[in-house]
Structure formats: C-alpha cells, structure tokens
Symmetry: C2
Subunit: 225 residues, 2 copies
C-alpha cells in the first residue's frame, strides 16, 4: 500500500524543483538526503520519485540517480518508449495484466481463419525468439501476439496501446529470474495452450491461460513476482 505521505511529498519536491536553484539536467540530492530534508522515510522518498518520473519531472537512471527533466512535468508516449528502469517494466507488466485477459476473452469468438493464421505466425515467432535465447526479443514478440489480437478487435486505442508496450519492451531492464529452462518451457507451453484455446473458440479457458502466461512473463522480467 502506498504511503499517504507520498502525494504531499511529491508536491514538496516539485515545489523545490521549480525553484531557481534547480536547472534542467541537474542531479537531485540522493534518497537519504531527501528523506532527511523532508523528514520522511527513504521508502516514501523512493515512491515519490517514481511518481515524479511517471509525471515527466524526473529521469531515474539506475545506479546513478535522479535528474531534473522538466520543471512543468509532462508525460508523452515518446518518453515512455525510452524508459529503462525496473519501475517502467513493472508498469508495462501491470498494464498487460489489466488489458490482456479481457481482450483475450472478448476476441476469442471473433477470430476469423485469417486471424488464426496471423496468431499462429506470432506464436512461431515466439518459438524462434526462445530458441535464440534473447529476452528482449521474447518480450517484444510476446507483446506483438496480443497486438495482433488488438488488431482483430479493431479498437484503435488498444492497437496503439499494445504497440506502445511493444516499443517500450525493447528497452526493458530485466530483473526477474530471466531465462531459466523451466521458465522458457512453461512460457511457451502456456502460450501454445492459449493459442489452442483461441483457435478452438473457448473464451473462459483462453482468459485463464492468458493470466498464467502473464504470470510467467512477469516472473521473467520483474524481481519478486
């Protein structure tokens, strides 16, 4: 659960950054120093900095620190595509969790033979990426499968959202268990089962398998999940 002090701390930090002593590109004081300055915990500081990154004020460079990016704060798709933090990976996975199971459920019964062929191709591309043992490529190909589904849905918002996630996946920092044999086997096995559920028109089964797939994916790219 997020700290209740977080939004207030965000306001205090942005007020500080908007003052004359900070210029774009400046490095912020470290977490420990900020916690002292604002009489709060380092955890609260870390949460607030993540918020401010999402709002476009800061850039968090892993192992380096936080840098002032924009005094007004803004956020654009362009910016999201370039992020490289674990926090960015977490948001990507969270968004997939929110969108994919419902998308799978609603599209299962709308698939034409041509759509099935398209999804079959996407599934074999995933197989190739797995053989090449390339985690960044696996992530992209994996998301592109669901982008193909979004294209079936004919919903412009979902098509573009999945496309953005696919572009962002290129830069993912992977901090999860990575590519152990077991992970790969279960990711691909669930994925093939998902494809079969889609092909044979079983919406509930497809939705359930999509959730399993996402869990395995999440374990690969995120720590402690």
């Amino acid at each position: 659960m997020a700290s209740t002090q977080r939004p207030i701390l965000c306001q205090k930090i942005t007020a500080m950054l908007q003052g004359k002593s900070f210029s774009i590109g400046d490095r912020l004081p470290g977490e420990r120093r900020l916690a002292e300055m604002f009489k709060t915990s380092r955890n609260t500081v870390r949460e607030a900095l993540c918020n401010l990154e999402s709002m476009g004020y800061l850039e968090i460079r892993e192992k380096s620190g936080c840098y002032l990016k924009n005094k007004e704060g803004c956020i654009s798709w362009e910016m999201l595509r370039k992020r490289k933090s674990i926090e960015a990976s977490r948001q990507l996975v969270e968004t997939l969790y929110l969108v994919v199971p419902g998308l799978v459920r609603t599209e299962t019964l709308r698939l034409s033979p041509a759509d099935i062929t398209e999804l079959e191709t996407a599934t074999s591309r995933l197989g190739e990426a797995i053989v090449n043992f390339d985690l960044s490529m696996i992530s992209r190909v994996y998301i592109s499968f669901f982008r193909s589904l979004a294209e079936v849905s004919n919903n412009g918002y979902l098509i573009l959202l999945l496309k953005e996630l696919e572009l962002a996946a290129k830069n993912l920092e992977h901090a999860g268990t990575g590519l152990s044999e077991v992970q790969i086997d279960s990711l691909f096995a669930y994925h093939v089962e998902l494809f079969n559920a889609l092909k044979t028109g079983q919406p509930e089964q497809a939705e359930k398998l999509a959730k399993y797939c996402l869990q395995t994916f999440s374990q690969m790219v995120l720590p402690d999940s």
Copy 2:
C-alpha cells in the same frame, strides 16, 4: 461475431486503394457498390471499412461516405483524437470497460487522503457538468475522474491512455439515449456511490459500481447498448 470474410475483404480493398486509380482524399464507392464489386454483403463491407478506418487508411464521414486518407495505412494517437464517428465512441466505451474496473479494484486500497480529495473534486465537477446539461463535457469530466485514479496508480501507460480517451471524448458523437432525467440521476447516483466505495476502501464494491457507472455512460453515448 465478425464475418470470416472481413480480413480477406480488407486486403482486397487496400489493394484497390493502393492502385493508381485512387488518390488521397478520393471518395470510395458506396457500401452497396463495394458489396457488388467484391461479391459480398453490405454488412461485411461495413465491417471491413470500420477496420480500415482504425488502421488509418480511411476516414469515415457520417452521412457522407468513406475517403482515402493514407495509402500505407497508419494510425496515431493524434488521429484517434480527431475521430467523430459512432464507431469511435464504441471503441472509447469498450476501452473504458476493459481498463476501468480493474483499475478501480487495484487502486482502492492505495488512495491517500490527498487522492480522495482530488477524486472528490472530480466528482463535484461531474455534478456541475450535469447541471449544465452538456453531454460532451459530462463525458470528458467523467473520464477525467478515472484519469485521476490512473495518476494514483503511477502507471504512465494508463495515465496517457486515459488522457487520450479524455481528449477523444471532446469529439464524441452521441447516439445513445442522451441526457434524460433518469439517465442523469442514475449516472450521478452510481458515481457518488463509487466515490464512497473508494473513500471507504471497498475494492470489490468499487469494481461493481464502476461497471454500473460504465453501463449508464454507455447507454448515454451509444445506440442499442
């Protein structure tokens, strides 16, 4: 269920449009003529044209016809913001259905007192829009409530997605029941109940109310829903 001929028809139409006899801005033959040309039903033609609009090839102008927009087909957030068709409204509502209930469920227990205040302000803005009897404003304010929730989630993708939906809502064509007294009363009543469930930290209740809210919203803006 979508016609299985649709994807094939889409390919045939794009092949036709990419030929030399069509230039950007040209009006396509009418639905009846296209159905004759490709030996298919008008329903299939209509579905295919909707697909091609989403893919950026066409612009559908209600009561006027379809116009060639881009021979390569592309789709951008910018383009989605400017659409005015009932199909665009349908996609907007569908996306809200897919994203909002889950967002409400996960954020309920993460709300700080400052977040609650922000959502309370958004709720009273909705009340004002209702008093002004302005359907376009109601749609925008309504979506902005969920954008505020996305900001709590600190998830850049969801923040921007909801922002895009909010921008698109400005242009919504409303073809639903519109603003009858009963509609307005139930929209606002459900919304206040949703706010209370969020405030008192009841995730399941909040998720259920969010679905009711969306149903009422959908009836206002879409035909036959």
